[in-house]
Amino acid sequence: MSTTLKPAPVSVASIPLTHGHLPRGAEILVGVVAAAAAGLFPLLLGWGLVAWVIVSVILFIVGLTVWSAIVETRRSATDRMVTALVWTAFGIALVPLVSLLWTVVSKGVPAINSTFLSYSAFRTSLDQPIGIYHAIVGTLVITLCAVVISVPIGIFAAIYLVEYGKGNRLARGITFLVDVMTGIPSIVAGLFAFSMFTAFFGAGYRAGIGGAVALSLLMIPIVVRSTEEMLRLVPDDLREAAYALGTPKWRTITKVVLRTSLGGIITGVTLATARIIGETAPLLLIAGLTTRTNVNPFEGFMTTLPVFIYSQFQKGTAADFELAWGTALVLVIIVLLLNIVARVIGKIFAPKTGR
């Protein structure tokens, strides 16, 4: 028990089982030092705040990596560098996004008042205040028409894909077309509607319904996709149970499948609506521009909120821009509401399918 034990060989002892660690709060320490070091530049050279932030971030990343490489291993140095880089990317990306939201809200709120919401842009004398009532009406009418056109087509197409045409050639063709249509640029949809209506009704025909057709072209693929997903989620047990009771196929679909997936379908449709309500380009081409309120989609020009923003932008004076920001805020709020409604509907209907 006493003789054979030797001290461990030197080579083994030189490899430590643990390596060094940076002290806790090393990030904060490096950050403060980097900020202070970078602070010399604005003092000495008169640089601005932005340059200071950029320099300190660079110093922070380099400093932390080098320190970690000296004290710890190379692997943890890489890890620390990537962590810092990823958080930097996060910070850089949040700046414009937050700035966008903040600008829309802060510039939009002063523009909004009761006149703004209830008057159209048609004025009988120059000093008359104008509003966006006509654009709100136009947006609602055109979007409603687009929904009416695309929801039945979309849902029926999805039902066909899931229930009837499982894997046959026509279904695959339709899936391919839907995929292609998802990537269709909105202006191309507008051009299509424009050329179609020109061909059928003569040159210069512009009305809300054309815009609705263009929008539904963009909306149908989204509706088909989301409905398809929802229908696939319905368990086959339910279908088979219905068949076992002797229910015909169409009744199974309407009473069992659709009812089970209703919440998901409504959510999908609402999100699709939120997506198309902000489209500008196609409506610019086909729906025209007017200052008056028009509720008839088949006759006369019709203005929507995004098109109104664009036309205000083209006029270009400060007052026009104020109206444009107000309109932008209204538009963003509508999109926001639609998103929230979609989420709430999804939540309400979701537990039913789970049980």
Partner: protein, 280 residues
């Protein structure tokens, strides 16, 4: 359902005459390709800038939300990003021209002064900042939420067991992400980028509002005259309602459609190929 197929046929019928119009409709260029090539160049250039800027940032945000940040930050941030994906493009355009473009001018001055030897920053600097670089950056901000949303989705779907196995073998967090998360999410990341590219190529309003176009092919990113994009060109020219011009515009739309179609097709092909590999 037959109407879906009708779209393409119709667009082709209306567009094909645009390839063979008389010279006067092509604004000085001899034939259709002379007219469309600088538009196509502008489209691709703006989309490329957007992708170069947006892709690393988007993956960064997605990683922070899915793996780095604590839950109380990740949840709200993810929600805000989803919301920004739904903000209409015209609002981005308004923000870009009113706030973003003027802010960029000092940066362009700096780039021109210090990196002027690069052909990209040759100058003279555009005094209002409505350059192709600004347009590309606004596009980048627009496609950022989309790429982020999709890649975050795939990142969070990585099996937790893979991640824990990597960590248990002593991997640092970055090694865990590189070894477990990226291979799993690769096809999703590619399709996210492709979707963003398709969006950037077809984007109309933001480019039309931010960019002061009219120039020819040039790699000078900060000058006053820039190549414009196909979609923005359609939006600004459509009012000249002569049938000849319209046919030409529809033909350019057809070209744009084909380009986006190719991009989407490539994305789907890559994703499908990767799925097969994973299944094996």
């Amino acid at each position: 359902m037959a109407t879906l197929a009708g779209v393409f046929i119709f667009l082709t019928i209306e567009g094909v005459p645009g390839f063979f119009q008389e010279e006067q409709f092509y604004k000085g260029a001899g034939n259709f390709w002379g007219y469309v090539d600088h538009l196509l160049f502008g489209t691709v250039l703006a989309a490329t800038i957007a992708l170069i800027v947006a892709v690393p940032l988007a993956f960064g945000i997605a990683l922070v939300v899915s793996h780095y940040a604590p839950k109380w930050i990740a949840g709200p941030v993810a929600y805000v990003i989803d919301l920004l994906a739904a903000v209409p493009s015209v609002v981005f355009g308004l923000w870009g021209i009113n706030l973003f473009a003027p802010k960029m001018v000092p940066i362009y001055d700096w780039l021109n002064a210090h990196l002027g030897w690069l052909p990209f920053f040759e100058g003279p600097v555009n005094p209002v900042g409505t350059t192709i670089l600004t347009a590309g950056l606004v596009l980048a901000i627009m496609i950022l939420p989309i790429i982020t949303a999709i890649s975050r989705e795939v990142f969070t779907q990585t099996p937790v067991l893979h991640e824990e196995a990597a960590l248990a073998l002593g991997a640092t967090r970055w090694e865990m992400i590189r070894l477990a998360v990226f291979p799993y999410a690769k096809s999703g990341m590619v399709s996210a980028v492709m979707l963003g590219l398709g969006r950037a190529l077809g984007e109309t309003m933001a480019v039309a509002m931010v960019l002061s176009g009219g120039g020819g092919i040039s790699f000078n990113l900060i000058a006053s005259s820039n190549p414009t994009s196909i979609a923005a060109n359609i939006a600004s020219q459509y009012k000249e309602n002569t049938p000849g011009t319209l046919h030409v515009l529809i033909a350019t739309g057809l070209v744009l459609f084909l380009v986006t179609f190719l991009v989407n097709f490539a994305a789907r092909w890559i994703v499908a190929g990767n799925d097969r590999k994973m299944a094996r």
